[in-house]
Structures are given as C-alpha cells and as structure tokens.
C-alpha cells in the first residue's frame, strides 16, 4: 500500500510496535538491525521492561542482537541502566546480561560516570541495591583511572556516594556553586539525550527548546490516542464487560507465537496487506452494525490525530489506525 513509507516506518515501528506479522518477519529483520542502534539502545533504558515492551515478543531471537550492535551507545546503556526507576527485581537476569555487556566494552566516560552514579542514587529505586552496588564498584574503578573527571558527587546526591575532590577542566570555575550548576546541567542534558532517542524525529533537532516541543507534542498525542481508543472501545460493544473478558483471556493466554497468530489477522490491517484485509472483512462481518457508529467518529479523529504528529514515522503509525477504517467503510 505504501511501499515508500515502509522503510522509515519499519525502522521505527518494527522495533517499537512489536507487531506480530509473519510477513513482516523478513522485512523487519534487516531494518531492525540498522534502526535498532539508536532505538534499541533505548531499550536498555528500561532494561528488562523496555526490551520486552519495544521489541516484540515474537522476535525472541532478536533480543540477544541489540547489545552487540551499538558500541557507541554503551554510554547510553550505562546511563540508561542506571535509571533505577525502570528496573524491577523480576528481571535481574536480563539486566545482568546488560551489565556484562557494558562491562566488556571499554568505556571512557567522564560525565556519564558521574551522571549514572547520580542517577542511581537520586531516584527512589529500592529494587536496585544489588545491581547498583555492582555498577558503582565498576564505575568507581573507571572513575579513579579517569583523571579529568569533573563530576562532583555532592552531598545532596545521596548517602551512598563519598565526597569526591574534583579537578576542574581548563577554563572552568571551581566555585562550588558553578560546579553544582554544571552537575545539574549535565544531568539535565543526559536525560534530554535519552528523551531525544525515545521521541521519534528528535535526533535531527538541535536545541533543547525544540526537542522539548517535540516531547510535549508526543505526550499530547499519546494521551489523545488513549482517549480516542477508549472511546472506540466503548463504542464497539455495549456488553463490553463480557466481550472484553473473553478477548482478554484470548490475548493474555497466548504467548509468543500464539499471540501473533491470534492477532495477526486483524493487525495485518495495520500492515496494509491485501490478503489480510479479506480475513479482516470476514471477521468483522458480524460486527458490522456495531461499526457503523464508530466510523463517523473515527474519520474525524483520524484527521485529528494526524496533524498532531508532524513526524513521518509516527504519522504512518497513526495513519494506520485511520487507514483500516477507510477500507472497512467502503468494502463492507
């Protein structure tokens, strides 16, 4: 349907949506490798959760792939894995693999060390004690070998960090206030970088103000999508409690392949495949009258979502949600 859109779309969506298309398996495998470097780097951000969240469960083979792909992003992994808010105790396995990966690659970070240490201490991550202990040991070793460190592990950072005497870089003040300012700015810049990787299309934008704009747009768009989708779900069936129950058991009980098998026919509409549309039509036949009311609303809101997203990859994502509606309207 939109072959020209697919490459950029797939680079992002394949990693993000984790949609389970058998047809997409072949298409996705290559772009995922290239698109993965920046995006799956972010997957390490929420180490276990995001890996499962953003890489589909259907591609379990792909999960070992991400770590070797980005040697340059190891700093990102370091930083990201320090976000104790995102990790949980269940997934110590995966985070340990991430740690071992980051261990094997030689790192020379100045800010990142400090940042990550600050990151690990400041958020209230109680699950993290074991992991952050390991990480801090490694970081301290790295830090001591690093002479030009300009981090200030200030007292306000937390009880775990010792007070460190720093040697300032050439041309920069050693005033405690400016050091604190610098440290804070470094923190903010690090988080900004991570956000840039998360929000599509922010990589090219320079300047924090514009990036913040994009972030705001993205959050707004996501919130509007939630509204819209909940309206759509409410309209779909009056007896929503019963239906959802059965649907959820279908969704929840399926695992990996069965999940894909169950969802592949309807979700193929998002992939815009012709053959699947027929399947979808058959499935929707019995829900025909239910959809009547939804169509009018959906055509409105599909226009309403598209302008909100100025970015191509996200455009195609949201356009897809509008697209399956149109053929449904005309053909059935």
């Amino acid at each position: 349907m939109e072959p020209e859109l697919e490459p950029p779309q797939l680079q992002f969506r394949s990693a993000e949506m984790g949609c389970a298309f058998d047809d997409f398996h072949g298409l996705i495998s290559t772009p995922q490798v290239t698109g993965g470097s920046s995006f799956t780097a972010l997957l390490e951000l929420a180490p276990p959760q995001a890996v499962e969240l953003l890489v589909t469960e259907d591609f379990p083979a792909k999960q070992p792939l991400p770590p070797p792909i980005f040697p340059t992003d190891i700093g990102l992994i370091h930083r990201a894995s320090k976000f104790s808010v995102f990790a949980s105790a269940d997934n110590s396995m995966e985070s340990n693999t991430i740690l071992s990966v980051s261990n094997s690659i030689p790192v020379k970070q100045e800010d990142l060390d400090a940042d990550s240490r600050r990151n690990s201490s400041s958020p209230a991550g109680s699950d993290q004690s074991l992991k952050s202990g390991k990480r801090k040991e490694r970081e301290k070793k790295l830090k001591e070998s690093n002479k030009k460190s300009k981090s200030k592990a200030a007292n306000d950072d937390g009880e775990e960090l010792p007070y460190v005497h720093v040697r300032a870089r050439r041309g920069q003040a050693t005033d405690s206030h400016s050091l604190a300012e610098r440290a804070r700015r470094e923190k903010i810049n690090a988080r900004m970088k991570l956000l840039q990787e998360l929000v599509p299309g922010c990589n090219k934008i320079s300047g924090t103000a514009m990036v913040l704009d994009e972030i705001i747009n993205h959050v707004q768009a996501l919130q509007r999508q939630v509204e819209f989708l909940s309206m759509r779900l409410a309209a779909v069936s009056p007896g929503i409690d019963f239906d959802l129950d059965s649907l959820f058991t279908v969704n929840g009980s399926s695992n990996d392949n069965s999940y894909s098998g169950m969802l592949a026919p309807p979700i193929c509409t998002e992939g815009q495949l012709d053959g699947a549309r027929q399947l979808q039509l058959q499935q929707l036949w019995h829900c025909d009258e239910l959809h009547q009311s939804v169509w009018a609303r959906e055509t409105d809101t599909s226009n309403f979502i598209a302008p909100a997203n100025s970015l191509l990859s996200y455009d195609s994502t949201s356009a897809n949600s509008g697209k399956p509606v149109a053929p449904r309207c005309t053909t059935s």
């Binding site: 988080r191 998360l198 972030i215 959050v219 779909v236 959802l244």
Partner: protein, 156 residues
C-alpha cells in the same frame, strides 16, 4: 499467564481486573470514561515502580471521584495510603524549584517545562531534572498502553 512479565501483559491483566468491576454504564461517554479510568490506573500500577507521576495519577483519580477508589484498590491489590507522602514531597520540591535563579535561556525553557508539567501527572511538583526523568518513564508507559488498546480495538 504471567510467564513473561512484560509491561504490556501486566497492563492487560490489570486493565481487565479493573473492568471486571462492572459498573452500570448506559451511555457511550460513561463507558469510555470507565475504560479510560481502568486503563490509566492499570498503566500507573505496572512495574512496581514508585515514580512520582504514577502516584500523582492515582491520587488524582481518587480525588476526582471517590467511587474510583475501588477500582484503584482492586487493580493495585492493596490500599492507597500515599496521599500523605505526596503532600510532604510537594513542599520539599516546591522549595527546590523556587530556588532556581533567572536566566534568559531558562526563561525560554520554563515556558516549555510548564507545558510539560501540565501534561505529565504530578508534574507541577517536580524540578527540572526529575521532570525529564519522569517524562521518559511516562512516555514508555503511555506507548505501551496505546499499543495494547490499539490492538484490542483492532480485534473488536
């Protein structure tokens, strides 16, 4: 069913739990509000992380409509007792924010961070660093929520 405790599956489970409460909804708007409420509470209850926006969201939900408390508690699995903690955090964070000085670029940034604070639940009481951090987590969770809801909508 929770063989792989992924974010999305966890969200789905909690969402389903919330929807099982079964309210008497006749109009579409009521139903949509119920669905959205369950979805929001479910996504805020995932992952066992005590980030600010989650707590703020749950507190907002409860304060807007006290009858929602049942939904929240059912999904969470335990009683809500965070309200006192959040108010204490509020005053501390507010002090931290007010201490920041004036700067031209900062003024430019402030306009946008104000906008961001309005979007992220509980954003009013976060300082700059925390705001970005919470936004990051919030975006990831929102994305998961949207993805699951979209799949469900595509099936039905």
């Amino acid at each position: 069913m929770k063989a792989r405790s992924s974010l999305k599956q966890e969200f789905l489970e909690k969402w389903r739990k919330g929807l099982q409460i079964g309210r008497n909804d006749s109009t579409i708007l009521e139903r949509k509000d119920a669905i959205k409420l369950s979805a929001d509470v479910a996504i805020a209850a995932t992952r066992n992380a005590a980030t600010r926006w989650r707590r703020a969201l749950l507190c907002d939900v409860v304060s807007k409509n006290p009858t929602n408390k049942h939904v929240v508690e059912q999904i969470l699995g335990h009683k809500l007792k965070n309200t006192a903690a959040t108010t204490r955090l509020t005053t501390a964070c507010r002090r931290r924010i007010l201490r920041r000085g004036q700067n031209y670029r900062r003024r430019k940034r402030n306009k946008r961070s104000r906008a961001l604070r309005k979007l992220v639940p509980g954003g009013e009481e976060m300082d700059g660093v925390l705001l970005l951090q919470e936004t990051l987590d919030y975006i990831v969770s929102l994305r998961a929520q949207v993805d699951v809801m979209r799949r469900l909508a595509a099936i039905t």
